[in-house]
């Protein structure tokens, strides 16, 4: 990867939380670069995928500690940036799509207002311009009746539509990087593909970098360019998405082995056999 293509550089990133029962290390020294590509991050629950995404935005929350040798976006050191700088990056340059629109949209604010806000925070546009843009944004995530959805409240839209609203909201300031944290996990299977297609289309058309966080190996293999496999807060393997099914690491192989297959049905599905060594082995470096 040419260095000019590197939007985001992460080196030796760690995230830990102070809890009453001591320190919990969610992410333990991971490194990767993100260009204008679709990077998949897979792993089980608690492997540190989501916290990696939040650490980039500086939103790991109270009681958290983020350290890194380098956490740099477009020449901005995100680790030491003040709140004002971070707010200018959030939304405008790096944005994040969350899992379930049922919870990630404000229930007492109309959908249009919420999308509009994402735009107004970063521009000097007036309300009328913002409304125009919001409507066209709603149209571009394939919502047929933007005027109507603009005035709707989150409880009045379906899950699939809610997630398209979310995409519109996060895309409207035209960020360079989108972090999608399990964007389709809460949706019906049929709707999942539609939402993915919209996301794919927008990311490719605008040449954004996408960090796609998921626990769905097959989805990531078919959707992304490159895949990071995380285990216990570390990156155990990095590979081209097309090569995922030929992955070397026993953990990745184990995960793949756990997937049921229609063409090769098994009587008993394999159970993941965890080697304690994986958790302590050095994090895989970016190739």
């Amino acid at each position: 990867m040419a260095s000019s293509d590197r939007l985001l550089q992460v080196h030796n990133l760690s995230v830990s939380f102070d809890t009453p029962r001591g320190e919990v290390n969610a992410v333990r020294g991971i490194s990767f670069d993100l260009g204008r590509e679709k990077l998949g991050i897979v792993g089980e629950s608690g492997s540190g995928k989501s916290q990696t995404g939040r650490a980039i935005l500086g939103l790991t929350g109270p009681g958290s500690r983020v350290t890194a040798d380098r956490l740099e976006f477009d020449g901005i050191n995100l680790l030491n940036a003040d709140q004002a700088t971070l707010r200018r990056v959030r939304g405008a340059r790096i944005s994040m799509i969350m899992q379930d629109p049922k919870f990630s949209l404000n229930p007492v604010m109309s959908v249009g207002r919420q999308i509009e806000e994402a735009y107004l925070v970063h521009t000097r546009a007036n309300r009328r311009e913002a409304r125009e843009r919001t409507l066209s944004m709603l149209a571009s995530v394939q919502i047929r009746n933007p005027e109507r959805v603009y005035d709707a409240y989150p409880h009045e839209v379906s899950g699939g539509m809610g997630q398209r609203v979310m995409i519109a909201m996060m895309m409207i300031p035209e960020p360079d990087i989108i972090i999608a944290d399990e964007p389709t996990s809460a949706l019906d299977v049929t709707v999942q593909l539609q939402v993915l297609a919209i996301l794919d289309d927008m990311v490719s058309r605008r040449g954004m970098g996408l960090m796609f966080i998921s626990h769905d190996l097959n989805l990531v293999a078919s959707f992304c360019d490159r895949v990071l496999v995380m285990y216990a807060g570390r990156v155990v393997e990095v590979c081209e998405a097309s090569q995922l099914h030929h992955a070397q690491h026993p953990y990745t192989r184990g995960l793949i082995g756990c997937l049921p297959s229609v063409s090769h049905p098994h009587e008993v599905l394999a159970v993941l056999d965890r080697d304690p060594e994986w958790a302590t082995a050095p994090s895989a470096a970016d190739p």
Binding site: R90, F103, P107, V108, R144, V149, A152, E156, M166, P173
Partner: protein, 353 residues
């Protein structure tokens, strides 16, 4: 899913006219039922209580003849349901009977006593809202740090220190020793009766009449009891606001707002608080209603001629007309405030529309 755009975005909003009419009829029935229940229960209690309403009127030295006369006039020879229907009938004609203690109609008594309570309760509630809510929000935003601890201690004190003790101490310090405030009562005796009681709310009447000296004096009398009652509602409102706010700040839409780059001030007041407000409406409505009931202790300590002490004195004097009338007014307040908070609730929360 795109096929459903039209329908999904439209459901659950703007109920059609017949729907709204049905809701109105429902509300009306609820009110009527509440009042029938309220009056029936209070009426029956007042009649089965081992007090002799006749004796209360004629006194124990009256002759049997006088006693019987009054007995018949009160309709006590009739079965209780007939008595109840008679009572309801006169109630609908705006007649709540005559009070034994004051010798006035209960209606005119209430017109005199209730505004005093209304004045006190409103000022106390405003204090609770405009001080309690910001306190709760500040505490939640600074959870675990010193502003939070301060608010929690203030909340605990306001909630647990007995009002009669705090009232007496406040009177002793601010009225007797320092002389900063007015003493017991609504206004100094020599100001009494200067302003025409249009509304009965002294502050309003004095302001309307342009009697600013009376107004100032009334404020100085109101300030202690209102602060005292206000502390109680403030403590409650602050505690509830804090816990609602903490709950909302942990929600995912807050993270969404932060991801968008929204300022922390807007995250708190523009996003979280609007959701907190939905829950607070009920709390504030209930607090206000319970203050309108009249807080007997505060009214007694400050010699405040309110509805709470009126009802209590009525009970002690076997003055059942006064008790019944007062109870109905308090009940009406409860119903009215509940309806009001229902309307506000619908305004603030789109899910309730």
């Amino acid at each position: 899913m795109t096929d459903h755009n039209g329908q999904t975005a439209g459901t659950g909003r703007a109920p059609s006219p017949p729907n709204r009419l049905r809701a109105l009829v429902g509300v009306f029935f609820t009110i009527v039922l509440t009042f029938v229940g309220l009056t029936a229960v209070t009426f029956v209690i007042s009649r089965v209580m081992p007090v002799d309403p006749v004796l209360a009127i004629v006194g124990d030295r009256a002759s049997q003849e006088v006693y019987d006369q009054v007995y018949l006039r009160l309709g006590l020879d009739q079965p209780i349901w007939v008595q109840y229907l008679r009572y309801i009938n006169s109630l609908l004609h705006g007649d709540l009977g005559t009070s034994i203690m004051t010798g006035q109609t209960v209606m005119s008594d209430i017109a005199r006593f209730f505004p005093a309570t209304l004045e006190l309760a409103t000022v106390a509630t405003l204090l609770g809202v405009f001080v309690g809510i910001p306190m709760g929000v500040v505490a939640a935003v600074n959870q675990g740090r010193w502003p939070d601890h301060v608010v929690r201690v203030v909340g605990l004190i306001g909630y647990s220190v007995p009002v009669f003790w705090l009232g007496l101490v406040a009177l002793l310090v601010f009225y007797a020793k320092l002389g900063w405030t007015g003493g017991p009562g609504r206004v100094e005796v020599y100001f009494d009766g200067i302003v025409e009681p249009y509304t009965g709310v002294l502050l309003l009447d004095a302001a309307l009449a342009g009697e600013w000296e009376v107004f100032r004096n009334a404020v100085s009398h109101l300030i202690l009891p209102a602060t005292l009652l206000g502390t109680f509602s403030l403590a409650y409102v602050a505690r509830m606001t804090r816990s609602f706010m903490l709950d909302q700040l942990g929600q995912e839409y807050i993270l969404t707002a932060r991801v968008k780059g929204v300022s922390e001030f807007r995250v708190i007041w523009g996003h979280a608080f609007r959701n907190v407000l939905v829950q607070l409406i009920t709390i504030i409505g209930l607090t206000y209603a319970s203050l309108l009931e009249g807080s007997v202790l505060t009214e007694t300590v400050f010699a405040w001629p309110g509805i709470g002490s009126y009802i209590t004195r009525g009970l002690f004097n076997n003055d059942m007309n006064a008790v019944l009338g007062g109870t109905i007014v308090v009940g009406a307040c409860f119903v009215g405030i509940n309806m009001l908070s229902d309307v506000l609730y619908r305004l603030v929360d789109p899910r309730a529309r």
